[in-house]
Symmetry: C2
Subunit: 509 residues, 2 copies
């Protein structure tokens, strides 16, 4: 039997562009993982891997034109999105190179012997070591930043872990190009190209998470797919950490006084956020709690005006288009649900943006409207109109975990007059990122970023964006009573590598 | 149907001492978890919870006599072990109070807006918040330090998480007394006593890990029990982190030249480590690779001499005694396995310490001898005699994850002459703590400690001993573009709480 073909498909036409590869067999997956495992020692030197990450960014930069053209042909994400996403991806690789150079992620802690402790403390020196080969599952909606050369790969390589990436079927050609850039960069630094493995195919993805030499996994995708892989990771004879970002509704609360102050601005801003990238962001605001009454009406009107002018768009693939059309139809058909601008099918390849409204009371208790509390991928949001704070609280209490939660406050509330702090305290348990007077779309790459949240937003307490994403691929090791001559240089008293560390309770930089 | 009775049993006689409680029903578990959840706000203030932890230590200190007497009657661990363990437990509570006061665990990272980043960075402020109610599963072998008032509880309360503890059936009366001390301490600080829940019974433990308001679990115990609970935690509709310490062989390598230099000292030291607490430590050295030849023979002889003088001992309960007797009999019956001092049954309540020897070649490939690579709880170890380094490597490559791995080196090797560094590099992937010229028994409570290791040593990359154990019960949250007036004080620019933090890439203390 010949291996299944992997085709690059143009979502604008639904037509096959080119055959990129064949699906990886179990043997192919095994080879890729073993080769990556054998190459892990080549990433041991921090200076080498920092240089590798920077060269990887340079290589992607240099291949910019071809990468963007290919990604556009496969995803229809267009410009300025794709150039921006590629720039972000390169920035991220370089940011991780800086993190590797600084070495704070090694979390060096040294305790010299202390006989006054109970029990006495011997010489203990702790730092973090890479876990081993990491499986990376690419996202559909970020062909660069959450795919082959994206944040999971960048942070894993920064930690010293080789990766085997499962390409997303929506952009196999882009995946191959990106992998090629990374591999060339590796070779330039004397690192075997096997530190970046790439496999295609659904079954290959399942094989990958089960492979005995895989030590951890990063995933960005749907609740269904992510949960299946999470379950497989947990069911292994040796379970592994599975850092999955699965789904998020990203609730937004608009207070009465915020609506009274700037209904139009909020309505227009919301339209921009929910239609950005045709609503194909994991941080798209999917549920907005807006007051009933005149100001709320004005907000809805502004939203409607802005969304109505949004042109039709092409989603990442036709399955997503069909799911979107079916999903919005199911939601729009519910009692008391209106569609001031109806979302749905455009031509045979496109969809049109829209939004739904519903009385918040409909969401306050379990019932058929619960589907409105599930993410619907694409350009749609649900505006739930509330009568009072009790309804807001009731709806918030019914939400699953989220990547983000947002509140729009009036100027007075933002200055601390009113319930602003109380609302923030209510939103905090729901999400990993809490925003005031902004929109969750746009996830900055920064040390203070947290892109994660209570399940199903993520399957762990980790982030997939920002400097601390590196923590996912490390484990601590402590050396006890180990002679200076045998200690890794990271742990020696004279600190030959100049690492930030904590010695006998005191931070040193 | 009346609830099942929970009895305190004296392992020295196998007789029931007193009925302590009844097993918790599903309703009891639900009540305990809900009460703990409702009380979580009372732990929000760091100063209050630090004071609570210190008072808890004081209360345990004050109840010392009764606690030790009760624990001894239930576990037969005696003195100096139990007074030492209680002192360690109090030290640990106070150490976590210091950690709470210092606040570095909040991991505060602030990024002010930066338009030069790609994409631009808005105002981002990240710190860590408590997860919620934590389920703690007590260990049999540490009635204080890994039980009701032990490291999991101390670190969870320090993080701001209430706990519901599943008592171990080997020491229910001690568990009740310890819980009472903690609760009284709570009440002294205006904290509801429900922040320390306590339930008894196997089924209650299963209910606990499945409860929707449980947000994480800590466990110390067997591979079988721990894995079952890990699986239940992973299978929940909302999976939770399960930090389990399940089992460890704790390999020890004695080099040829170390044996040549001090065979007797190593043999005697090993006898002490493997019989300490009747071998009932998770860090008991369970497999020792010693050279064939004269020096190795001397090591074995010294070990035999020392072990032979060890009196019979009472294990924690009769089931453990039976498992030990059956386990050593199964191992001793294998071909080529000798028992220079035969471990096994003593009188009807005791066991006698011993050890087995086997040619290392027998462990180098899969076969019936694989049972020697499984932990056998109690006073027994396996000395595998190796011919050359290749055999050492072959055996090490077959080991599962461990809490500790130890090497004994000669003076020259310790000074860097020889293969010391290479052996350490081989041991590092196997364990969370690597020791040179020491014994793994004795796990100091210190910031640089790591008590964890690759599965099955632990089910996560975390530690259950030492300052970083607090990280298990926290998750990061980032506030974006949040006005100063609404920020938690931990994240304000003027740093009113004087927390250590990282601002725009620079550490501040």
């Amino acid at each position: 039997m010949s291996a299944a073909q992997v085709w690059s498909v143009d979502p604008r036409t639904g037509k096959r562009r080119e055959q990129v590869a064949v699906e990886a067999t179990a043997e192919d997956v095994d080879s890729a993982v073993r080769a990556a495992h054998s190459a892990r020692g080549s990433l041991a030197d921090r200076a080498v891997r920092a240089a590798f990450l920077r060269t990887a960014a340079d290589r992607l930069d240099a291949a910019k034109e071809r990468l963007i053209e290919t990604a556009d042909a496969e995803t229809a994400l267009g410009s300025p999105r794709l150039p921006g996403e590629l720039a972000r991806t390169c920035y991220q690789l370089r940011a991780f190179a800086d993190i590797v150079d600084e070495g704070a992620f090694l979390d060096v802690i040294i305790n010299h012997p202390d006989d006054t402790a109970t029990p006495p403390v011997p010489d203990l020196r702790r730092y973090k070591v890479p876990l081993g080969v990491v499986a990376v599952y690419s996202a559909s909606n970020f062909p660069f930043a959450f795919s082959v050369a994206g944040g999971d790969t960048a942070s894993a390589l920064a930690a010293g872990c080789p990766v085997v990436v499962k390409a997303h079927p929506d952009h196999p050609a882009t995946s191959e190009l990106a992998a090629e850039c990374l591999r060339r960069a590796a070779v330039e630094h004397g690192i075997p190209e096997a530190v970046v493995g790439l496999v295609h195919g659904f079954e290959a993805g399942v094989e990958l998470v089960k492979h005995p030499l895989i030590t951890a996994a990063g995933f960005t995708g749907s609740v269904r797919g992510g949960r299946a892989l999470f379950d497989a990771a947990a069911a292994r004879p040796v379970p592994i950490p599975f850092h999955g970002e699965l789904g998020s509704l990203n609730p937004v609360v608009v207070t009465e006084s915020a609506a009274a102050e700037r209904a139009e601005q909020i309505g227009t801003g919301l339209a921009g956020a929910m239609t950005l990238g045709h609503g194909q962001f994991c941080v798209k605001p999917g549920l907005v709690l807006a007051p009933t009454g005149e100001a709320g009406d004005q907000l809805v009107k502004s939203l409607a005006d802005a969304v109505a002018t949004t042109g039709e768009g092409v989603l990442l693939d036709h399955r997503m288009r069909d799911n979107f059309v079916a999903g919005v139809a199911e939601r729009a058909a519910l009692p008391d649900v209106d569609a001031p601008v109806a979302p749905g099918a455009g031509d045979e390849h496109t969809v049109s943006a829209g939004f739904l409204t519903v009385p918040a009371a409909r969401l306050a208790a379990e019932g058929e409207h619960d589907v409105l509390l599930e993410e619907c991928f694409g350009p749609v949001t649900v505006v739930a109109r509330y009568e009072d704070d009790a309804e807001v609280k009731a709806v918030l209490s019914r939400l699953p975990g989220n990547l983000s939660a947002t509140v729009h406050l009036s100027s007075d509330e933002a200055e601390g007059k009113g319930d602003g702090a109380a609302i923030l305290a209510e939103l905090t348990p729901l999400a990993g990122r809490v925003l005031v007077n902004g929109w969750p779309t746009g996830v900055a790459v920064a040390p203070a970023q947290h892109h994660g949240g209570p399940y199903p937003a993520t399957t762990s307490t980790s982030t997939s964006v920002g400097g601390t994403a590196i923590e996912r691929w490390l484990r601590p090791v402590t050396y006890q009573s180990t002679p200076e001559a045998l200690l890794p240089p990271e742990l020696r008293d004279d600190n030959p590598l100049g690492l930030p560390r904590r010695v006998d309770g005191r931070p040193e930089h």
